[in-house]
C-alpha cells in the first residue's frame, strides 16, 4: 500500500490541533491608549469632530471610531468585538447588551436626543409636500430595517399615525407598501435620497447639516407623532481602558462636548 508521508504528517497535526482545543490568551502592550468607540451611524459627523477635539486636549488618547447601525454594533460586541465604548442610537440595543452583562452598568447614561424628519431630494421627484403624500401609490420610500434604531423609530411613528383618525390604519399599510428598500444604517437612507433614487426617506433631524441642507426638502413630523430618539453611552465590560472610557463619557456630557452635539443637530439633555 502506498502511504504518503504528507498524509501522515497532516493527519497527526490535525489530531494534535483538535485534541489540544483552543485556548485564547490575549496580551496587548500599549504605549498610546487607543480608545475604541463603537457609535451609531447617525453620530458620524458629531463624533468625528468630538474625537478630533478630545485628542487635542488629551494627547495620551487616540480615538478609534467604528460607525454602523447600532444593531450591527451590538451584534459585533456580542461576538466579542474589541470595543471600549458603545454609543447607541436607541436604548434597546445598548440595554440588550447590559442585560447580558456585557456593559458596565454604572457607566450607562443618556447623552443626546434626536428627532425624526422626512426628507425628499431637493428636486422632489415624487412631488411630496405633506406626510399624507407618503401613502400615495407609487411613492418610492426608503426607511431603516426594523432592527436599526431609525427604522424602529420610523415604525413607531407610523403606528402612532395609524392610531390617529386623521390618518388611520390604512395610512400605515400604504406607507409601508411604498417602501422600496430597507437600509441597515440611517446614512444609507440619506444616501439613497441624496442621489435621487428615492422619493423620500425617514431620517434623523441631525442628518441634515449645513453642508447638505440644500440637497433636501425637509418635512417635519408633528410632536404628537414624532418620537424622541434617546442616545445612551456606556463602557463595554471587557474594555481594557475603563478609566479613559469614563473620561470620554464625561466629555460627551461636558460643556466642551455638548456644544458640538448641539451644532450637529442633537438635543442635549
Amino acid at each position: 500500500m502506498k502511504f504518503s508521508w504528507i498524509t501522515i504528517v497532516t493527519l497527526t497535526l490535525l489530531a494534535a490541533i483538535i485534541g489540544a482545543g483552543c485556548t485564547t490568551e490575549q496580551s496587548q502592550p500599549e504605549k498610546k491608549t487607543d480608545l475604541t468607540v463603537f457609535a451609531a451611524a447617525s453620530l458620524t459627523g458629531a463624533l468625528t469632530d468630538m474625537a478630533k477635539e478630545y485628542e487635542t486636549s488629551h494627547p495620551g488618547v487616540h480615538i478609534v471610531t467604528n460607525f454602523d447601525g447600532s444593531q450591527a454594533l451590538r451584534t459585533q460586541i456580542e461576538q466579542g468585538a474589541d470595543a471600549d465604548l458603545f454609543l447607541s442610537a436607541n436604548t434597546k440595543q445598548l440595554y440588550a447588551l447590559r442585560d447580558q452583562g456585557l456593559m458596565e452598568n454604572r457607566s450607562i447614561g443618556l447623552f443626546a436626543k434626536n428627532k425624526l424628519v422626512v426628507i425628499t431630494p431637493a428636486s422632489n421627484p415624487g412631488n411630496i409636500s405633506t406626510l399624507a403624500d407618503l401613502a400615495r401609490p407609487g411613492v418610492r420610500l426608503v426607511i431603516g430595517t426594523k432592527d436599526v434604531p431609525v427604522g424602529d423609530y420610523s415604525r413607531q411613528i407610523l403606528k402612532k399615525m395609524a392610531n390617529d383618525t386623521a390618518y388611520g390604519p390604512s395610512y400605515q399599510t400604504s406607507v409601508l407598501g411604498n417602501v422600496m428598500s430597507e437600509e441597515t444604517t440611517v446614512t444609507a437612507v440619506v444616501a439613497k435620497v441624496w442621489i435621487g433614487e428615492a422619493d423620500a426617506g425617514i431620517v434623523y433631524e441631525s442628518d441634515i447639516t449645513p453642508d447638505n441642507r440644500d440637497k433636501f426638502v425637509i418635512i417635519t413630523i408633528p410632536e404628537t407623532f414624532n418620537v424622541i430618539a434617546e442616545y445612551p453611552a456606556g463602557i463595554v465590560m471587557n474594555s481594557g481602558n475603563k478609566d479613559e472610557a469614563a473620561g470620554f463619557i464625561a466629555y460627551l456630557k461636558s460643556d466642551q462636548g455638548r456644544p458640538i452635539l448641539a451644532r450637529h443637530g442633537f438635543a442635549v439633555p
Binding site: K2, S4, W5, I6, I8, V9, T10, T12, L13, L14, I17, G69, Q71, A72, R74, T75, P125, R140, V142, T145, K146, D147, V148, V179, M180, S181, E182, E183, T184, K192, I195, G196, E197
Partner: protein, 271 residues
Amino acid sequence: MTGKGDLRGRKNLALTIGAGVLITLLMVFIITPILGLFFRITPEQFLASLTDPMVWNALVLSLITAGISTLVIILVGTPVAWINARHRYPGREIVDTLIDLPLVLPPTVAGLALLMAFGRMGLIGGFFYNFGISIAFTTIAVIIAQIFVSVPFYIRQARASFEQLDTMYENAARSLGSTPLPTFFTIILPLVKAGLIGGAIMSFARALGEFGATIMFAGNFQGRTQTMPLAIYTAMQGDLYASITLSVILIIISFLVIAIVKFRLRGYMQR
C-alpha cells in the same frame, strides 16, 4: 529522482514535514469557520428558522433570480464565447478584456456603476423612468446585478471548451454538407456539454452569492430584492439563527456545486 519521489521518500524529511504543516494549516483555516457555523445552531433551531418567512422568501428569491441570471448568461454567453473562440475580428481582445472586467471589479463598484446607469437619474434608467419604468430597486435589478458579476465565469469556461475542441469535427460536418447552425447544435454543443455545464454552475454559484452589487443597486427588501446574502447580513443584526440557517443552506449548496463540477463532470470530460 522526480519531485514526486522526493516528497514520498524518507530522505527529504524537512520538506515533507513542511508540506504537511502547510496543508494542515490551510485545511484548519478553511474548515474551522464552516464548523463554527454548524456548532452555533442546533438542528431544532435550524428547522424552526426554516419556517421564518424572511428565510423562506430569501431562499426562493435567490434560487429564482440566480436561475434566471444563469439562463440569460447561457443564451447570450454561448454564442459570444463561440465567436470569440473561433473567429478573429478587430476588437476581439477588447471584448475579451471587458468580459473579464467584472471578475476583478469590486462588487460595490459594480453596484454603484449599475445604479449610475440604470437608476432613475442614470444614463439608461432615466430614459426608462420617463415611461414610468423603474429598474433599480426591483427584482429585475437583482438579476441585472447577478448577470453583471457572474457572466465572465461562464464565458471564460465556454470559450476554453470551444478552443479545446479540434476543428476537425466541424470541418468534417461542414464537408458532409451540414450548414453552420445545425453543425453547432448537433455536433459541437454535445461535445462541449460538460464544459458549458461546469461554467453555468460556476456562474450560478457566483450569482447566488452576490451581495455588494445587489444591496447597492437593488436595495434590501424582503421578498423583492432581499436575496440570501442580503438576508444573512440583515438578520445577523436581529435574528442570528435566521442568519446562520441561511448560511448553512448556502454552504450546502456550495458543496453541491463543487461536488458536481469536480466529480460528475470529470466523468464526462475523460470520455
